[in-house]
Every structure is written in C-alpha cells, then in structure tokens.
Symmetry: none
Subunit: 140 residues, 4 copies
Amino acid sequence: MISVQRLDARDAQVMIAGARARAEEIGVPMCIAITDEGGNLVAFERMDGGKVTSITIAIDKSFTASGAKRATHEYGTASQPGSPAYGISSAIGGRLMVVGGGFPVMVGTACVGGIGVSSGTADQDMQVAQAGVEAFLSTL
Amino acid sequence: MISVQRLDARDAQVMIAGARARAEEIGVPMCIAITDEGGNLVAFERMDGGKVTSITIAIDKSFTASGAKRATHEYGTASQPGSPAYGISSAIGGRLMVVGGGFPVMVGTACVGGIGVSSGTADQDMQVAQAGVEAFLSTL
Amino acid sequence: MISVQRLDARDAQVMIAGARARAEEIGVPMCIAITDEGGNLVAFERMDGGKVTSITIAIDKSFTASGAKRATHEYGTASQPGSPAYGISSAIGGRLMVVGGGFPVMVGTACVGGIGVSSGTADQDMQVAQAGVEAFLSTL
Amino acid sequence: MISVQRLDARDAQVMIAGARARAEEIGVPMCIAITDEGGNLVAFERMDGGKVTSITIAIDKSFTASGAKRATHEYGTASQPGSPAYGISSAIGGRLMVVGGGFPVMVGTACVGGIGVSSGTADQDMQVAQAGVEAFLSTL
C-alpha cells in the first residue's frame, strides 16, 4: 500500500478564507474550489456575485491541478497551437482546464490537493488561487 | 421583470455550520451542498470521512430540491413503481435525485435555495439537511 | 492534513490475479477493475470473452464500492422499491452501481480501495470480486 | 462476415510490461491503456505516481488510435488552426485525442488494437507507448 497525505476539511476552509480575502482586496467576487490529491472536491464557495459559469470551471481547475500536479496555466502554454499538448483542453469531457487559476498544493515533493479559482481574468484568478495556497502553507 | 430573493454566501455558511454540527452529533461525516433558487451551487463541504460518491449526490440533491422547490424524498414517494413520477430518477442525466436528504429553503411561499446532504442513511441525511435549514431560518 | 493508505499498483495486480483465478475456476471470463480509496482507477483487465458492456460496469462498481466504502449489492437491497435509497442507481450520471460485484477493500476500519467485477451473474461477479479482495488481504 | 484479429488479454499484459519497463527507465510513472481493434479497453495500469487526470486521457488516446487506426500525434498535426481537421479534438465528447502518446497496433495492414500512455510530456508518452507496441510485435 501507499501512504499519502491530503488536505482535510479545515485546510480547505483556511484556503478558501485566504483566497476570499484576496478576492475582496481586488474587488472581484470569485468561485473558489478545493480538491484533495485524488481530484475530489473538499470545499467550494461562490462569493456573492461570482459567475454561475465559473462554478464548474473553478471545480475543474482544481481537479486538473491536483490530478495532474501542475498549474493550469502551464497547460495553457503547453497547449498553444503548434505545441506538444495542443488539443488537451477538451480532454476528460472538457474537465482538463488550461486556463490560469488552478494550482496544485505541494508539500515538499508531494501534491496534497489543489485549488481552482474562476470569475475574474486569468491573472486575477491566479492571484486569488495563489493567496489560497499561501494561506495554507503558512499554517504548516 | 421579477425580483427574487436567494441565499447568499453567508447564509450558505450558516447552513453548512448548522448541518455540520448535527452531523457531528450523530457521528456521521457528511457531504453538504447549498444551492441558490436557480439551482446553482453556492457552497459545499465534504467533512473528513464523507464519501467520495456523495460529492455529486449532495450537490444534485440540493439542485433538485431548489430547482423543483420540493424535498427529494417526496419525489421518492411519487416515483415508486406504478406512481405518476415513476422513472423520474434518471432525468437530467441522473441529476434528479429522489432519495431523501434534499430540502428546498422556503421563506414564506418563496423558495430561496436548497440544501443537499449525503453520506449517511436517507434518514440521517434528512436530519442533517433539516438542521441546516433550521440554522438559516433562525437568523431571519 | 489527513494521512491515508491506499492500494498501490502491485496490490492491484495481486487482486486481479486472485479474481482471474476464481473466474477461470468457474469458467466465466470477467472484466475486473481496481480503484484506490479516492475512487480512481488503478488497474483493469478484460479477460478474453469478457463483455464489452462490462468494462464500464466493472469500473463503476469499483468506483462505487471504494467511494462509498460499501459493497454494491448492499445498495441493491437498500434501493428496492419502497426502500429509502430507491432511485439511487441513476445517481452520478449512472455511475452509482447497485448490482452486486463491487466491494470496498477494508484494512481495519479504513477503506483503502475497491474492486469491481462484471460479465457473469451478480452472484458470480461477487464471488470473483471477493476472491480478489482475499488475495490482497492474504498479503498483509 | 468478416474475420478480425485483435489483441488478447495476454498481449495486453505484454504491452503494459514493455511500456512500464520503458517508463521506469526514464523515471516517469505513467498511465497505460490497451484497447482492442473495436476501441474497447482490454487492460489498464496506473503506475504509482501516475496522474489521476491521465487515467481517462490514456484510455482515450488508446481508443482514438485503435478506433481511427492512426497515431494521436498525427491528429495533432492535422488539427492545427487552418488545417482540415481543425476542431476534431473536441469530437466524441472530447474522447478524440490529438496529443501524442496513442498508437495503433498494426500487424501487416491490419489494426489489431492500440495503446495510450499519459502522465509525461507528449514525447515521453510517445516513447513509452512505442515501447509497448514493440514488446508485442517482438512476440510475433
């Protein structure tokens, strides 16, 4: 058997609080999703004004980042026309997200989960997701 | 145009807290989902030990209850073999849930959202969902 | 964070070999799927003559059993007309399997994965899945 | 009627073993899927550390390669913006994979199955998939 570590429900709340605080600072209401290392949803919040379309996008960004152990914007670069991962964005029924805003949560070399944020620009989503990751890492 | 009232993000957290407290009392870790009156997810929490299969089930119970303005267990009764709604459980790609644990949130005659709970027996899920509704109603 | 234990790739091969041996004994070629505790596929084998329709059924039985920490035939009982879980079989896009042949793999009180078997009768599927579980447990 | 030849369960294990050996050489844990000439899954293995998102991607690469009798990276070239197959990557609900790592298994002019590999770069996936094909061909 393999032993793994993953985010728990309390960690997820810490991450959402950290992301929400950042979203409020920049004045963009967000959808924020947290998944464990198996890509399964642990917690989700749609701030008042967050986009309805962003519910699934945030969840799928987090799924992608935790499942692939890779930030979604890196897939964005790797999947440009002419690049090796071109076309990957429609994989897994469209769940494979290549737009920025999804980050794996790495503790040492292990991926323990992920965060996905959506409703702003890709840059805003990335800032807010990063704030969620940092809020968690500061508790270790 | 129509003006509608719906649960906000804070209401959703009140409901999750109320449901979680009840789940802890009965010792069953749950998946808890809150949707607005449009059936769209506002908040979600999988307590540590909540079932992976219950993530979607909780969200879909809440979707069903808020979208149909009806508790999911009522559909269970109405969809028994020989009854008029027989077969409804596979509607909407299987999202129409007829198992207990989904409740609409009614304020007067208006449905302002819903809650869906899954991981226990149908009876346990219903108790925990009801506690979430009551936690919200007590704030009005 | 939470620490969990899960089946690894070698465990999955042990389970498939155990299930395959039993399938050969009873003369029924099977589809055999192994998932980890997050419900994600670790290994799969369709024996020569296993049913094409059973590919997804075996995978979804294993997903259900590991995700819900419960044997699929127990859902079959609980979801009969008039019973509390009636209608659950179409949940999660139909992935929630209530037909026998899916078992969680329990080590003490922890669910570390699951096995799903399909192509025979429910009873045959259950025998073969059980043999897979036993093959693994005998290695501990 | 038509007689066809296809990979059997033993062939699939030979291919997975060949691919796994190459994956271990390059130090990248992979998801490896084998399908028959009907595009239906015969065997699958997720090596320890293989990506959760790659489960479906590996299966769909193999499905695409065996079903279309064409390597997935050839679709990558043919589906670039301005090219005739542009947009094909979202076909079949996203199952049509255009990223490298899927190969048909050709015996003479007949396609007898396919292999799909995912978790590394497209180049790594292709190397490992090719090793799986070669392992099988060396048994003929």
